[in-house]
């Protein structure tokens, strides 16, 4: 079988060579699909020892100044700018360390990282180093939320099984989520981590009360969806987008359909969903669409669960629609 080759630019991100006419106030304007693309055989130069050590030896290398002794990781310079450019030498530092500060978590990513949200990016100071190494930060316990990584949190740097000599060959996990054996192992691999599987939350048994609440809340949801569907600005937010979402709540199930500018909801289930949402209460979804709460925040608080993290893209579109309707009412 032919080996699947990973492309520098994923095919799905490359648009067709076409254009369109946009009419604004009766005048026609032309808009063309286009790209600025440059490919590289990029030199890693003096940074090569660092990246080669990641790839080949599962080691982290720093640059130690021969004069002041500061250990810079990554080794961004081999001559110390603080010591009149005294030479530095390569030293190995630990794959364990501490967070320099509380790291940010990205929920709305740039277009190349939309499949990876949410992710942390923060500076870990490896034991034996003096500076922070920027790495991606994950949790083994599902969605990354604030509080898991803080200033001073102990971190283990883990190596990817497939390494390319890039900073993405490593990532950080909270030491508290790993066993003593895993922590002690040098060059711990991603495949040696117990990732908690994305298990669909169990729904409590349906009660009459929950069913009655569902009926009432669904009526309100329908009203909100009708309003969204009448709002040009909101419809534009889902232009070119198609998704079927199965939503499960304690009182019942319903389907949200997004179809190129049209939004609709229907009671009942489907087997053709692109993804599933599980809400602790229909009100959670209702509030998000009615601009009275945030769906993203509901996911962070585990009030709402989505079966695929890449569908944060769709969640953002729904939230954008809610805001568009609110804006157009001003």
């Amino acid at each position: 079988m032919a080996k699947k080759v990973q492309k520098v630019i994923p095919n799905a991100a490359v648009p067709p060579a076409e254009g369109r006419t946009v009419t604004i106030e009766g005048e026609n304007y032309l808009e063309l699909n286009d790209a600025m693309h440059t490919f590289y055989r990029r030199s890693m130069g003096e940074l090569s020892p660092f990246f080669l050590a990641l790839r080949d030896d599962k080691k982290i290398i720093g640059a130690k100044c021969s004069k002041c002794g500061i250990v810079r990781v990554p080794p961004m310079a081999w001559f110390c700018p603080d010591c009149d450019f005294a030479p530095a030498k390569a030293v190995e530092v630990s794959d364990r360390g501490k967070m320099l500060f509380t790291p940010p978590i990205t929920y709305f990513a740039n277009s190349m990282f939309q499949e990876q949200v949410p992710f942390g990016r923060g500076r870990v100071v490896p034991d034996g180093a003096d500076t922070g190494l920027s790495v991606n930060l994950y949790t083994t316990t599902g969605i990354l939320v604030p509080g898991i990584f803080k200033k001073g949190t102990e971190v283990k740097l883990v190596f990817r099984n497939n390494r390319y000599g890039k900073i993405t060959d490593i990532f950080g996990l909270p030491a508290s989520e790993l066993s003593e054996k895993q922590l002690a192992k040098k060059g711990l691999l991603e495949s040696e981590i117990d990732w908690e599987a994305a298990v669909e939350p169990k729904m409590p048994a349906a009660t009459k009360k929950a069913a009655a609440h569902f009926e009432k809340a669904f009526k309100n949801l329908k009203k909100v969806v009708d309003d969204l569907n009448k709002c040009e600005r909101a419809k534009k937010d889902i232009e070119g987008w198609k998704r079927t979402i199965l939503v499960k709540t304690p009182g019942g199930k319903f389907v949200i359909a997004i179809d190129n500018g049209d939004l609709s909801v229907k009671k009942g289930a489907t087997t053709k969903q692109d993804f599933t949402m599980v809400a602790n209460n229909l009100d959670t979804v209702l509030k998000g669409l009615a601009y009275e709460g945030s769906l993203t925040e509901a996911i962070m608080k585990a009030d709402l669960w989505i079966s695929k993290n890449i569908e944060f893209m769709t969640v953002f579109k729904l939230e954008r629609m809610a805001r568009s309707l609110a804006r157009s009412r001003k």
């Binding site: 600025m36 601009y291 945030s294």
Partner: protein
């Protein structure tokens, strides 16, 4: 310090989420046409131009300014492009000031333009993720771009480090109030992208988290537009002012600073924005300002994020570290308070057309000084990763 330099003309085009009707050529020309009209001089009298254009990829060409030189009537004259991240516009003003102060030219144009939202992501069928990616190419290419660096997450690093040090400050209720305040102030800016987008603190609190801790309504919006400022040496400036019946607004202080971009020992002090601190100190020293809160009445601060706006105002001497929330809680920046912050609505409500943004801020600061008869304003620009670049200019109204 050199010769006195004053602002004698300024303009902005409408800032919009998207200009399908105009390329950056036309936007630049619109700003220049309006600026020379404001100064009442023919373009022939302008001897040199400094361009503020941040990102080649936004304009979809490298050396984006070359086509503009002839289109704005500046052929065969000095033209210098500045590209310094978010602080591009403020650095462009700083450069023009230096050339005029040094006596190289008597009348100069500062022209900022940016066309950001032609970028489009065909995966999500929306512009914003591609705009963020395009800015993402500005992050460190060896260590940070591959792990999802964005302008937002790099500024969030600074804000979170500040919050680690001062856990009780930058409270969500306060950042929400500031966003709501700016949304009220933008009402009088007819060029703003969000002139009619007034929000309540509750709406801000409910808006979704984009990059923790930033909420959607606490972040500047990407914009397309242009802005221009004409500066002149003392005699020319006074002549233009006499002709137009408008006072000269002098640039009496300028300061700039770029920090480390790595973090840790002897690197960037992550819980501070030292670039803003050093830039402000330098500008205040030049302008003879001892007590900024007494001496300055208007600040147009580059509000990439509300939290950063608060820290920046502390670095500029308008609040204490750890007590930034006093800006709201003690009324400093609230209506009737000592300091008018971002009467333009700032970059959060007027919009962030990157190269043009700080020039728009200077346009607004000059307008407010003249319109309200106030004495001094400060204009601020921040940029690059982790708020690494800072620029502060002090403007002074000769008529007040």
């Amino acid at each position: 310090m050199g010769r006195k330099v004053g602002i004698v003309g300024a303009s902005v085009t409408p800032f919009k989420g998207r200009w399908v009707e105009k390329t950056y050529y036309a936007l630049a020309q619109d700003a220049v046409r309006a600026a020379v009209q404001d100064a009442g001089i023919p373009i022939k009298e302008v001897e040199a131009v400094v361009y503020g254009i941040y990102n080649d990829i936004f304009q979809r060409t490298c050396i984006p300014e070359h086509a503009l030189q002839g289109l704005i009537g500046m052929q065969n004259k000095f033209g210098l492009r500045v590209s310094n991240g978010g602080a591009t516009g403020a650095y462009a003003l700083s450069a023009a000031h230096a050339y005029v102060a040094a006596g190289r030219y008597d009348v100069m144009m500062v022209l900022g333009v940016e066309k950001a939202t032609d970028c489009f992501d065909f995966l999500s069928m929306s512009a914003t993720p591609e705009v963020i990616k395009t800015i993402g190419w500005s992050g460190d290419s060896f260590f940070e771009q591959p792990i999802g660096w964005t302008a937002s997450d790099s500024y969030a690093e600074v804000v979170l480090a500040y919050m680690d040090t001062h856990p009780g400050d930058l409270k969500p209720e306060v950042t929400a109030q500031i966003s709501a305040l700016l949304s009220q102030q933008v009402k009088t800016n007819k060029f703003a992208q969000r002139q009619h987008d007034q929000v309540t603190p509750e709406e801000v609190l409910n808006s979704r988290i984009v990059v923790h801790p930033f909420k959607q309504l606490e972040i500047c919006v990407y914009s397309e537009g242009a802005a221009a400022v004409i500066v002149a040496e003392e005699e020319k400036a006074k002549a233009i002012a006499r002709n137009m019946g408008a006072p000269v607004v002098w640039i009496t202080g300028v300061g700039e600073s770029n920090e480390h971009s790595f973090a840790g020992k002897n690197q960037k002090i992550m819980n501070r924005i030292m670039s803003d601190y050093y830039a402000a100190q330098m500008a205040y020293k030049m302008a003879g300002i001892k007590n900024p809160l007494e001496d300055i009445q208007v600040v147009e601060v580059h509000d990439a994020f509300v939290h950063q706006l608060e820290i920046t105002l502390a670095e500029m001497g308008f609040a204490q570290h750890g007590r930034c929330d006093a800006l709201v809680e003690e009324g400093t920046i609230m209506p009737g308070g000592k300091l008018l912050v971002n009467p333009s609505g700032g970059l959060i409500y007027c919009g962030h057309a990157v190269g043009a943004s700080n020039i728009m801020s200077a346009w607004s600061a000059r307008n407010e000084l003249v319109r309200r008869g106030l004495k001094r304003a400060a204009v601020h620009g921040t940029g690059s990763t982790v708020a690494q670049y800072g620029v502060v200019l002090v403007l002074e109204n000769e008529a007040a």
